[in-house]
């Protein structure tokens, strides 16, 4: 069953010097209980997309298109309804948010807060729920009395996940939940997220620039470049056999240890990410594309079929089909 549907979503920030088209026509669907990965380099619009889903964007951002959550139009919701959705149906774990924990409050109190504020539980029940949530994220009960500085980065990220789970949401949006954590802690957090999705029938949108991490956790993968989805499909297929040259570069950036092809041969992508205020014409990727054709600077690209369940916005894909 479809839980979330984005139809031609666009977000434009208005700033003093002009307009920043951060998301430019994204259409995606997410089934309930499924996990969707959104990949792309910094500035490609991933966080903007995530915030748009729960209408958390600054007021000067203009949003176009449609967002349907359980068939309900998110952009048309009244504020009261929107707030109810935010705590009961979908919650977001922000990029770097573990630094945003209140340093002078015990973490148990911070986890219990939404339950108490929304009147979902009395103090006693909230305390029991905190214990349960801590257990779900693999932290011992006594950690409820700790202050944030007494926890490691990975433990703080677990607390953030516990907070996101507090009101039993059906959808979790995790923006770079493991970036800057070390490998073992990253593995702990990813295992936790995977188990939650599998055991509690929670849907997940996970954002990262590391395709290998997304391929590991998510069923479907969308690769964004300059505010658009340039490739979409089953995550392992996209990771191992990318069709779009940009996805290929992203996939190659994290080598498989043991693969002779990447030994002493790091793979990069030349050039700079595009400035959204001065997007290249034609295919936005053409100035950095190693396989660009003459027409790429002028022709319009769109997501073309690229095999069963797959799409890619590249002229080479269109020619092949």
């Amino acid at each position: 069953m479809t839980l979330l549907e984005l139809d031609d979503l666009s977000v434009t920030y208005r700033i003093a010097s002009g307009e920043v088209p951060a998301v430019r026509g994204v259409s995606l669907t997410l089934d309930s209980g499924a996990a969707l990965g959104v990949a792309g380099e910094s500035g490609s619009g991933k966080s903007t997309l995530a915030m748009a889903l729960l209408r958390l964007l600054p007021r000067d951002a203009r949003v176009g298109g449609r967002i349907l959550l359980d068939g309900e139009d998110v952009l048309a919701m009244k504020w009261g309804r929107m707030r109810a959705v935010r705590w009961a149906e979908a919650s977001i774990v922000f990029q770097g948010a573990q630094h945003g924990l209140n340093p002078v409050r015990r973490i148990g109190d911070q986890i219990a807060e939404p339950l108490l504020v929304h009147g979902l539980a009395k103090p006693d029940a909230a305390r029991r729920r905190v214990t349960e949530l801590l257990e779900q994220v693999g932290l011992p009960d006594w950690r409820a009395r700790s202050f944030p500085h007494e926890l490691s980065g990975g433990q703080r990220q677990r607390v953030m996940i516990a907070m996101a789970l507090a009101c039993s949401p059906r959808l979790i949006i995790a923006d770079e939940p493991t970036t800057a954590l070390d490998v073992m802690v990253q593995a702990q957090v990813l295992t936790l997220i995977k188990d939650l999705v599998a055991e509690h029938d929670i849907s997940l949108i996970m954002i990262s620039h590391d395709l290998s991490v997304l391929a590991d956790v998510c069923d479907q993968l969308a690769v964004m470049y300059a505010g658009r989805v340039v490739e979409h499909g089953p995550s392992r297929e996209v990771f191992h056999d990318a069709k779009h040259p940009y996805s290929k570069a992203l996939a190659a950036a994290f080598p498989t240890v043991g693969d002779p092809a990447s030994r002493l041969a790091p793979q990069g992508l030349g050039g700079d990410p595009p400035d959204p205020m001065e997007l290249p014409t034609g295919c936005s990727f053409h100035p950095r594309c190693p396989v660009a054709l003459d027409g790429c600077a002028t022709m319009d690209v769109e997501l073309w079929p690229a095999g069963p369940g797959r799409n890619a916005a590249c002229v080479h894909v269109q020619e092949a089909s």
Binding site: E41, S42, S152, A187, A253, F254, T256, S262, P266, G268
Partner: protein
């Protein structure tokens, strides 16, 4: 002559040791206790060699790197450069810092937002009184792949992309013509697409300038991408080291095996649980025993080494190039 000496000499004809830690200990006072952040490390970086130092957060990598740079004084043991123990007089240290340069983790944090690229890069050559400042800065920029260099002179950090900022930081390190770069997580804060470019730059600098590097990271893929040798650190000590091809395809220490197993797409994961290890409470016996999956699964007992795991200290690994692991089970 012992076998170890023979091995060191055999390799030294290929790559003479340039920078070395000998039985290095670095301790800090932490909440009234002693934190043994570096607890007995032997490590050598040869001329033109790239060594990766890997291990989880808090295991002592940065402390070891800072001590090698002379920024931290060892509690005992010594840092040696070019065959001589490091001299901590300020004059000698100043000369040393020309040879061994630090590249920091976060390019945004290590650049002053109010200094242009030129000002940032001219500082080192000025302090060291190098002639032809402009030339030095231009050469460093183009070596770091920022060409033509004069196009970048007057830019401020916020006018550069993350990858360009990291190149400026590397150019700053190159300006003094060092022999060794010590890079602490050089790509951790960079995008996937830029990461490969910066790593390729480090390889190119080795090829063209014969530069050596110690790259500190928790990213095993990075070690696979650019390092000749890898040293795996756990709780202040190197627990396994050797050529990258061997250590990363056939890890022998259970900790290295666990690190490898959590790479995406590994068949069987060993996710270590428990609190991160605490250098103020280093366990007796093997320092990894409380988290060791080989001990926990009973394999160590089957091999009859479980008693040793819990109570017998392991020798500090010597600085030899061959594969070695500090583990009773691996040694049996």
């Amino acid at each position: 002559m012992t076998e170890t000496q023979a091995a060191t000499e055999a390799v030294s004809t290929v790559r003479p040791t340039l920078l070395e830690a000998r039985d290095l200990h670095v301790e800090f006072a932490s909440r009234g206790r002693r934190a043994r952040a570096v607890d007995g490390v032997n490590l050598a970086v040869g001329e033109g060699e790239i060594v990766a130092l890997v291990g989880e957060s808090g295991c002592g990598k940065t402390t070891l790197a800072r001590t090698l740079l002379g920024l931290e004084r060892p509690t005992s043991g010594e840092v040696r450069y070019g065959g001589a123990a490091l001299d901590y007089s300020s004059k000698a240290l100043k000369a040393y810092r020309r040879q061994v340069q630090l590249v920091l983790q976060d390019p945004t944090g290590s650049l002053n937002p109010r200094h242009t690229v030129y000002e940032a890069l001219a500082e080192g050559p000025r302090i060291h009184g190098l002639p032809d400042e402009r030339e030095v800065v231009a050469t460093a920029l183009s070596r770091a792949g920022l060409r033509p260099p004069d196009r970048f002179f007057l830019r401020y950090p916020h006018e550069l992309s993350g990858g360009q900022r990291q190149r400026v930081v590397i150019a700053g390190a190159l300006a003094l013509n060092p022999k060794v770069l010590v890079a602490d997580e050089p790509v951790a804060s960079l995008d996937a697409s830029v990461r490969g470019e910066i790593l390729a730059l480090l390889l190119k600098l080795r090829e063209e300038l014969g530069l050596s590097a110690l790259v500190v990271t928790h990213d095993l893929g990075l070690a696979w991408n650019i390092a000749d040798r890898v040293a795996v650190m756990y709780l202040g000590r190197i627990v396994e080291s050797g050529p990258v091809e061997q250590v990363l395809t056939a890890p022998r220490h259970p900790y290295t095996q666990a690190l490898m197993s959590v790479l995406p797409e590994s068949p069987e994961r060993v996710v270590l649980t428990g609190e991160p290890p605490d250098p103020t409470r280093i366990p007796g016996g093997c320092r990894f025993h409380a988290r060791c999956q080989v001990l926990a699964s009973g394999r160590a007992a089957e091999a009859g080494v479980d008693g040793k795991c819990r109570s017998e200290l392991l020798d500090i690994l010597p600085a030899v190039p061959e594969t070695q692991a500090a583990c009773h089970y691996a040694a049996r």
